[in-house]
Amino acid sequence: MNAVLRRLVAAAGLVLLLAFLAGALTGGGGRLRPTPAAPGPAALRPSGRPDPEAAPARRPLDGGVLNLALYAAPRGLFHPLLAEDAYDGAVLGLVFRGLLTRGPQLEWQPELARSFTISPDLRTITFQLRPDVRWHDGRPFTARDVAFTLRTLLHPRFPGLQASGYLAIQGAPAYHQGQAPDIAGIRVLGDHEVAITLEEPYAPILEALAVPIIPEHVFAGVPPERMAEHPATARPIGTGPFRFVRYVADQYVELERNPFFYRGRPPIARVIYRLVSQDMAAAQLLAGEVDYMLARPEDLDLLGDRGGVVVHETPGWGYQFVGVNHRHPWLGDRRVRQALMYAIDRQSMVDQLLAGHGTVVNGPVLPGSWAYDPARLNPYPYDPGQARRLLAAAGFRPGRDGWLEKDGQRFEISLRYPGGNKVRELSAPLIQANLQQVGVKVNLEMLEFTTLSRLVFEENRFDLFLLAWAMAPDPDPGPIFLPDNKWGRATGWNHPENTALLQQGVRRMKRGERRPVYAAWNRLLNAELPYLFLYSQNEIEVASLRLQGLRPDGRGLLWNIHELWLDRAPARLR
């Protein structure tokens, strides 16, 4: 018996150990907010075959199955207001549609809306809806569905956690706290007209109002806290180009075309999101088992020179950074942070770890954004000499053992980082070696993701940490640099101009008027360095040549999936 108990305890210990090792294998970046669309200047590299534009126009072939690679199992929560990760989100993106969608320049375009107008005081947005939209079960889509969607996600007992983006709507905070029966700022003006009124102008509301709309007639009367258990959460009903057929747990998600799609019946008959291992995906694409995948730079070694695939690369919206604890007596000194920035060879991270598929970033507004202004930004080129001068100015002197010292204490700090993202894991020892060059001793601590999150955001126990934010194309960073919440509070940084600039930025609606505000804000953070900004990784999409009708732009390869069609004969390339 004792032996059995010992084995059990050992087994439990092993399981826990696995939990910590786990970080070494997966996790990481995938948990951050999914990026809705890819930005800016796009580089299309069709290799081997003539440009599809140049080829004589052929009529789309009807039918066929499109296989898309999915790297982790969806949760099976196919409810747009409850879905929490990118994998459910990928499926939902084909089944549901929102009022707005992004255009070629990533500007907002009407989708379920026919048009929308913003009132002169910038507080009221009126949507005229398309009259020809039907739900997958045949019922007409109306303005009441829009109001129902917004009321649901703001409901005090609704378990989804996206309400914060909508609190600018008039009357929403009181309703969200259960102090009001309805939301004054949401008005249904007719079957196909709905108006949203804000307390004060708030530019990111458009992003929020692009949320996928859910059907009122399906969910009406369901207590909001029980929506996760509703059958339509497992088998969703939307308005998108593809209808949900089934999800076979941990295997695949099957969709079929919606013949009544308002932009026309899609030529592709079925879409299958196939779960594949990320290490196998490139080989499966070449074998014809998968038609589309998101690729890592190293996958291109296998895919790139075969001449049988379409590769589409767009700058990513996320960026990697070193978070700095400004409560630390030395790291709170701006000269020290700037010294560390000069000491880290960020370009060689991009060149070596990403094989060039990325960009060095010098502030939170990324080079691909319309709000980006390179003027008077410090690019912090790799310059250990400059780093040493700044550290000397901050009072550090080399000690007897070669490490820098101040007040008899050695400059020794820890760098905590989560396992999971391989590139990030490899960047940690590079940072350590770079900082050693200027006499700063860095101790690396790789932690499991949840453990790191707790230490950084709940306990603020760290000197430096590595992490990434995945942002939306809107330059407003949300709360992550505001001192009034746990995300912004983690670093302990604040600056009087910061909050004011961010408030100005969201109160203006036009890009031209917002741009100088974000340029100024980006310069502030570039000089103050609440984080040491590192790099942004490109998004690399790869599709098989079977897939025809591609019109890739900043939105990616599949934005017009309702028009794409499949060539016969799944080519086996090897």
């Binding site: 439990a12 826990l16 939990a19 929560l77 076979v248 299958i272 080989a283 070449l286 995300w487």
Partner: protein
Amino acid sequence: MAAYLARRLLAAVPLLLGTTVICFLLLHLAPGDPLSGRLDPRLRPADLARARRDLGLDRPLPVRYVKWLTGVLRGDLGTSLRFRRPVAQLVAERLGPTAALALAAEAVALAVGVPLGVLAAVHRGTWADHLASLGALAGLSVPPFLFGLVLLRTFALQGGWLPTGGMVTPGLHLRGAAWLADVLRHMLLPALVLGVMSAGAVMRYMRASLLDVLQQDYVRTARAKGLAERVVLYRHALRGALLPVITLLGLSLPDLAGGAVITETLFQWPGLGRLGYTALLERDYPLQMAFLLLTATLTILGNLLADAGYALADPRVRLE
């Protein structure tokens, strides 16, 4: 023997209970909770606090344990925090694929390991012995993902004879015999990877134990009676020599349920291993507990089966 088994099963109850207490404590000692890993700036502290309250994460540990235990006693394993679905459903969906793969892997292990072990023991010291031992060492030391990738490359990607992953061909919706054939085709490679791993161990145990048994008095007696060497080997020696192999298989039962994470991931097999792994990463307490309960039960069951197997294989063993 029935009385013995009944006694053992009864004794397993307090054992299981103790295990759940220890596991519950250990799991909750891991830093963070299901919401700490949610790095989404849209989440406001107030919303997070409300979500924690809704999930009961603000209550003291003993209260939560008792709530969990009373649920389990009523047959309710709770609702997964990640999937927002009943834990029992999630586990049940994956139990079949896991058991099928585990059985197939054990079959491979026995079919490869036992004959090789016998061969090596009988021809001890010859080139056949060295070759079999080398093979066993290779089976034990080659990492499963490497072996799996080589198999996939050869048979699935280059040959095109077998599928690259999954349990069924997506979107075909086969039934009956066609479905079974489809599943078997998908199962072949992962079963081979898992089976060859344990075949190495089976072979080593088989060889050592048969060599030991061949020195025993009852074998010498059988030989002295003038029995043919084949009869001595297969009827007398082999049965006794199987004991350690049975123990090995019995004790590997829980490993097969949850220890195949890497193989399951590589071959996209919808098994329990990946589910348990996800539960650990995300601090999905109800799912973790169900998983540990299952592993503990299988461990106890594996031990029991090993003991019962002893009695069946060796006439000298009597369970009282």
